[in-house]
């Protein structure tokens, strides 16, 4: 009986010895969380083109994961037409460069839709900033995703004044829609051109064009991608156009094209790429 009494006393003592420090630790932890915030995070936010879902960049992410030493966690969002956001995946605790993909419930082509998608991007963006408290980010847009980004940067980024964009990369973004002409201006281009002064001055942008032949990548005309210069030149800090030819340069293959993947690594992610790739990237013919 006596032995039992001792056991109970010891048990209670151990329990207090754990609960009390645990409680003080949790209070201190909450306090430090309050003051710290997550400012070191700089996500890479990707927007797919029309008719593509939030899984559009899976191949690209696998390609990037093959080479990169750093593991990026992936968060996917789909903004419904009602403005509600569906999340899947998550961002690792210590991941400072996660990939975030923003897709849309209504992902149709056409100016009216793209205008609306830029508004939805803004809703998702604000929600992300509120949740993750980042103040820097990089942006990647494929096809119409590039147009959505451009519109967003021109018109809506101002609504989040504390957040700055470091780099933008558009892949085969048809700034003049499907027009092959060098003179006709579509209404989409006119809108992008009209608001161009809203672009952040410190932005560095890369526009990548893929070409299967001399005029297009099979879907987007080269001349339409080339129209980007009228929007970006003299409005932002740096604007670079890169043309990729060769294998896998059909419009929908571009995001996982090996050459473009290495361009993304060097220019968008700012990785310390091996000199072999760096050299290869610099040997790009410019036309």
């Amino acid at each position: 009986m006596k032995r039992n009494w001792w056991r109970w006393a010891l048990g209670v003592l151990v329990l207090i010895g754990i609960c009390w420090p645990a409680y003080t630790w949790s209070k201190a932890n909450i306090k430090s969380l309050k003051t710290a915030g997550r400012t070191r995070m700089a996500p890479v936010i990707m927007v797919p083109g029309s008719s593509a879902s939030q899984n559009r960049f899976d191949d690209l992410i696998t390609e990037l994961g093959k080479e990169t030493p750093q593991q990026h966690s992936v968060l996917k969002l789909t903004v419904q037409t009602s403005g509600k956001i569906k999340y899947s995946g998550n961002i690792g605790r210590n991941d400072n460069q996660p990939f975030i993909i923003v897709a849309f419930g209504n992902n149709k082509d056409g100016k009216a839709n793209i205008d609306q998608q830029a508004v939805w991007l803004n809703i998702a963006f604000k929600d992300l900033v509120k949740t993750y408290k980042f103040n820097h980010f990089r942006a990647l847009g494929h096809s119409n995703g590039g147009l959505i980004w451009t519109l967003f940067l021109e018109r809506y980024l101002k609504q989040s004044p504390k957040v700055h964009i470091d780099r933008l990369m558009t892949i085969a973004a048809p700034f003049n829609m499907e027009s092959t002409s060098t003179t006709t201006k579509t209404s989409m281009f006119k809108e992008l051109y009209q608001y161009r002064s809203g672009l952040p001055n410190g932005l560095t942008a890369y526009s990548i064009a893929g070409t299967e032949n001399y005029t297009s990548d099979g879907t987007v005309p080269y001349n339409s991608v080339n129209y980007g210069k009228y929007i970006f030149q003299d409005e932002i800090k740096h604007f670079t156009e890169i043309t990729v030819t060769g294998a896998n340069t059909a419009h929908s293959d571009l995001p996982q094209n090996k050459q473009i993947v290495s361009l993304i690594r060097q220019y968008l992610l700012d990785e310390n790429v091996p000199s072999k790739i760096r050299k290869q990237n610099q040997q790009q013919p410019r036309n």
Binding site: C19, A22, W25, L33, S88, N90, T131
Partner: protein, 438 residues
Amino acid sequence: MSLIKQFANQLLNWETWLNRRRYFHALRDTLTLLFPLVLIGAFINVFNQAIFQKSGFIAQIYHLNRWFPGFKALTTYTTMLSLTLNGVIAVVAAFTAANFAVRAQRRDNLLAGLTAAVSFCLLNFNYAAFTKQNQPTSSRFLEQNLGSQGIFLALLVGLITGWLFNHLAFKTHTHQLIETRTHLLSRAKENWLPMTVTLLGFSLLSYGISFVSKNGLNGLFYTVFRLPFFNPGSAFLNIVSVTFLSNFFWVIGIIGPIDFSGNSSVSTVQNLEYALQHGSAWGAPNPITLHTIFDSFANVGGPGMTLALVIAILWRSHNADFRTVAKASWLPSLFNFNQPLLVGLPIMFSPILAIPFLMAPLASLLITWSALKLGVMPPVVYPVGRTMPGFLVGWLGSGGDWRALLVSLVNLSVATAIYLPFILLENRVVEGRPTDET
């Protein structure tokens, strides 16, 4: 009342019947034999993940990393222990399962075991090692499949190997205390057929799978088993079914489709941001998620509320085996490592224990959900660790709300009450076998 009695008798009969099946018996024997290894592994996990890891519970509350001498070295040392011992447990399981499966038929158990272990490794070859020639660091085996994740597949490989040996070996095996070379060579002669067939079969299977799945057969298993677990959202029934399915997988040895990972999901981060801004967990935007009700309240002592099982056994069980296992495993169970109980009792593949193992978490989910819906307590919003004792998670995760602690304790008592009848039922088995008691 008689209906319940009838059901209980049925259950007991079924269990006895199952135990008489040769391969099922081998399976249970394998698990029990693995118990000491798994127990040591669990203690190492406690040292590694709860004590000598910066994010470990004990390390955090006592700030061990600031003052404990040699903390970093101990982190490395215990991580090494954990990765090696727990990292190859499935290979050991394959060996043991084949070994037991052929014993009753008096076949060569050692050769069968070795063949099974090699076959299991064959199935987990990393074919990416061929393509990534410029990266010599990539491993030749899919190491993550050789640990407890791979136990289900390992048992299967072991039993299949055992079956092949039982049917293809030319002669029965005679055990010799002191081996002679002649006997050893005759063992080779009598068993070359099952060995070749097993190795050939599994290697071809492995190569075939490599065209479909990058992570081997096990990876394929896990993708299929994970399919139902995408984003259960906030619907209560979804969370319940996901939990049920996940715990069911644990019972049959498929460990961990749902991981304790809720800390980083978007809804959790949103909750945390809200709480930090408002200074309280009340009114957080996502009160009902997998994290707030399953991770935090229905996982006390590991999946299946196994801490309640430990309590029930130590309190009322007359089964000496059960008591031995429970006495050895309560400490890891406090930090939510319940693998020793799974293989020691075993809970895995035991119909009697599987029922409360599946029901107890559901009861906890229901209680927690009601408490949140009725506004009795705030949800868990602050970060909690994987090794935080289960009954403290609600309290610490809600910023020290005593009502959450109360709900945790209610959950634990209800879970104990659910386990108790089954422990009493098991007592009847023991009392029916007086030889065990003496």
